[in-house]
């Protein structure tokens, strides 16, 4: 089945058969663009999390970064905790 399907694809492996493939491509592209630039920016307002969303933008947090070297604040947090441990004020602290 797949081979038969693929044989219709001069440009590549798994696209729909026939000349409609560019129309399908453009349609999906349109959906993608609408999702990225209309739905995603509109969601925080709809869900009532606009303030939190704006804070993440203002702070410049790399919310999508999946590993720690790509997130600046991780390095800051690490050094802050380490120095707080190694150079802690001797008397009980009252800092917030």
């Amino acid at each position: 089945m797949e081979k038969e399907h693929c044989s219709n694809r001069p440009g590549g492996p798994w696209g729909p058969p026939g000349t409609n493939r560019w129309i399908v491509f453009l349609l999906w592209l349109l959906i993608l663009v609408a999702f990225a630039f209309i739905v995603v920016p509109g969601l925080p307002g709809l869900l009532g999390i606009q303030q939190a969303h704006n804070l993440i933008i203002d702070e410049g947090i790399e919310a999508g970064a999946f590993f720690y070297p790509d997130v600046k604040k991780v390095g800051k947090a690490e050094s802050y905790l380490r120095d707080s441990r190694d150079y802690a004020p001797l008397q009980p602290s009252i800092c917030p």
Partner: protein, 593 residues
């Protein structure tokens, strides 16, 4: 590497059994080429940031700042302004050489952008000037506020000092004012960055990077016996899509939702391959395994084992006891209760949710030779749930009035990706963010152990039982394990162990300056990101969307994810409470300082 019809051969992340040919194996398989290329990158990094870098100068500066902090800590019962200034100055120290700084510019990804897409790649001198002028007023205001806050903090600290630091109310007043001053400094720094934007043109650097990476990967392509010309012809297309995925992920709203570049790389690839079709001339450059394994070797270098004790035993237990327990439970649940057909999808999803999201999924998928559709599915589910949890968990913590340390540990141990953990922590405040980010970083380090454990389990148990093998002698069994063990995992662990040992040798502060802020952030991590982007574009370009449907049958992956994640929430919360508030209360007090 060959094509089967129009389908690329790298249909799985690491499924193909490579023929073993003794010494020649070292140069004929992607596993070994990943190790060689990864080692080359890391050695270049060593030259740039250690041999050529200002190491002695960094050591002197660190010693000076540490002396100031030690002296200030003896003086006052709170962190003084000088203490904070020294700490912040120390944090910025790196051993980047001049050449390293130049090269870093050529590794730049498309930048953050809002309304103008072009700003992600290009900013002319006139536009930069206009942006700076527009941001100037905000910067001046922030500067004025910082000066006011600084004056108040200085006065409050002087008052506390005049009382010999014995007046509790004056001490409290001083620390409150210092806290306000620190916040004003951050705001000023942000405003300053906006007001000092320099012109840039990423089109040129991206073109150079494309050529450099194409040539870099072509070494292995050639030696492995593939057509160099065909690879180099298709590579710019794959690279352009990788750059496009970074561009989309850099849009401010998309970025704030945590919809990372790997997701866009897969979507763009899928969109092309399942509509107009991946052009045949591109297929020789669709080298998923080659890119992903090389990226994983570099990822290994950033797994620095010594960091696991940063927040003492509580952090260690939350990450190194709770996470493996949830991983094993989720795998068991998928096999015994849900009866998932694919063990590899089961373990990839389990590692993804219990360890650290995308990075754990990539490492585990490679270790157990999962299919690329399984990795795609695991990453897709993880990113969607992470985006929701990033906002939902701080809201819950706030609603129930959870202690910042408990909330930070809970979120750090439960939310999949590091960036989302930091975002969630920031929504609750600095203490929660510090704890959350650190717990997550410790959890990131678990990836090495999990990848090794999964590779060993698959080699010794799953693959052997699948093959229905009879009992072997101990020696024969070991040979069999060695034959099947994914070689790049050895490189991955080797990079981690070598860099961990070097980090320990340097000590925490120098280790941070040389490795964290130097080789890793400036060099290997930037390249690793590009390699993963190329890999995920390749996955998309080589995937039939219909193949994903069968894995979603009965909604089992989603049920597994929800059950596993719910278990993770409960286990992490209970453990964090017991460890931080019952067994090790002193540590919680120190974290709140």
């Amino acid at each position: 590497m060959q094509e089967q019809g129009n389908r690329p051969a790298n249909d799985v992340v690491v499924l193909e059994e490579s023929p073993r040919r003794g010494f020649s194996e070292l140069f004929k398989t992607e596993d070994y080429w990943a190790i060689w290329l990864g080692a080359i990158v890391l050695m270049i990094g060593f030259v740039l940031y250690v041999i050529m870098g200002p190491v002695a100068d960094a050591r002197q500066k660190i010693a000076r700042h540490n002396a100031v902090m030690a002296s200030e800590a003896q003086k006052a019962p709170f962190k003084t302004m000088a203490w904070h200034q020294s700490r912040e100055a120390k944090e910025k120290i790196t051993t980047r050489s001049g050449l390293a700084a130049t090269l870093e510019k050529y590794l730049a990804r498309p930048g953050r952008w809002d309304a103008s897409p072009l700003a992600s790649f290009y900013l002319g001198p006139e536009e930069a000037k206009a942006e700076n002028e527009a941001a100037r007023a905000k910067f001046e205001t922030a500067k004025k506020k910082r000066e006011e806050a600084e004056a108040k903090a200085k006065k409050a600290e002087a008052d506390a000092a005049a009382a010999g630091y014995k007046d509790a109310s004056l001490n409290t007043q001083a620390s409150t004012q210092i806290d306000a001053w620190l916040k004003s400094r951050e705001a000023e720094a942000r405003a300053k960055r906006a007001a000092e934007t320099k012109p840039y043109n990423l089109f040129i650097s991206l073109a150079i990077l494309c050529v450099a990476l194409g040539l870099f990967f072509s070494i292995g392509i050639k030696v492995m016996g593939n057509s160099l010309r065909r690879f180099l012809l298709g590579f710019p297309f794959v690279f352009a899509l990788a750059a496009l995925s970074y561009f989309l992920a850099a849009q401010v709203n998309i970025r704030a939702w945590g919809l990372e570049y790997v997701l866009w790389a897969i979507i763009i690839g899928l969109l092309i391959s399942n509509t107009v079709g991946t052009p045949k001339w591109v297929m020789p450059a669709v080298q998923t395994e080659y890119y992903i394994k090389t990226g994983l070797i570099l990822l290994g270098a950033s797994i620095l084992i010594g960091k696991i004790i940063l927040v003492g035993l509580p952090g260690l237990f939350i990450t190194w006891v709770a996470c493996p327990a949830v991983l094993i439970f989720t795998y068991w649940f998928g096999q015994r209760i849900l009866k998932m057909e694919s063990r590899t999808l089961n373990i990839v999803l389990s590692a993804d949710m219990s360890v650290s999201g995308v990075s754990a999924a990539i490492a585990t998928a490679s270790a157990c030779r999962a299919k690329k559709e399984e990795l795609t599915l695991a990453i897709g589910i993880s990113i969607i749930f992470t985006s929701i949890m990033m906002f939902a968990m701080p809201a819950v913590a706030k609603a129930v009035g959870m202690h910042p340390v408990l909330a930070g540990a809970w979120m750090g141990g439960s939310i999949d990706s590091t960036g989302a953990v930091v975002a969630a922590g920031t929504l609750l405040g600095p203490e929660a963010m510090y704890v959350a980010a650190t717990i997550k970083m410790i959890q990131n380090i678990l990836i090495g152990v999990v990848a090794f454990g999964v590779a060993a389990y698959w080699t010794t148990v799953v693959d052997r039982s699948r093959a229905g093998e009879v009992e072997l002698t101990a020696g024969a069994a070991l040979r069999e394990i060695w034959k099947r063990f994914p070689r790049f995992i050895i490189g991955f662990l080797g990079a981690s162990l070598a860099f961990s040992a070097f980090y320990q040798y340097l000590g925490n502060d120098m280790g941070k300056a040389v490795l964290d802020e130097g080789i890793i952030k400036g060099w290997s991590s930037a390249l690793q990101g590009w390699f993963f982007a190329l890999a995920f574009v390749s996955i998309g370009l080589g995937t039939d969307f219909r193949d994903l449907k069968k894995y979603l049958k009965g909604g089992k992956p989603i049920i597994l994810y929800i059950v596993g994640q719910s278990t993770q929430w409960i286990v992490t919360l209970v453990m964090a409470y017991l460890l931080f508030f019952v067994l090790f209360k002193g540590i919680t007090g120190r974290l709140m300082m």
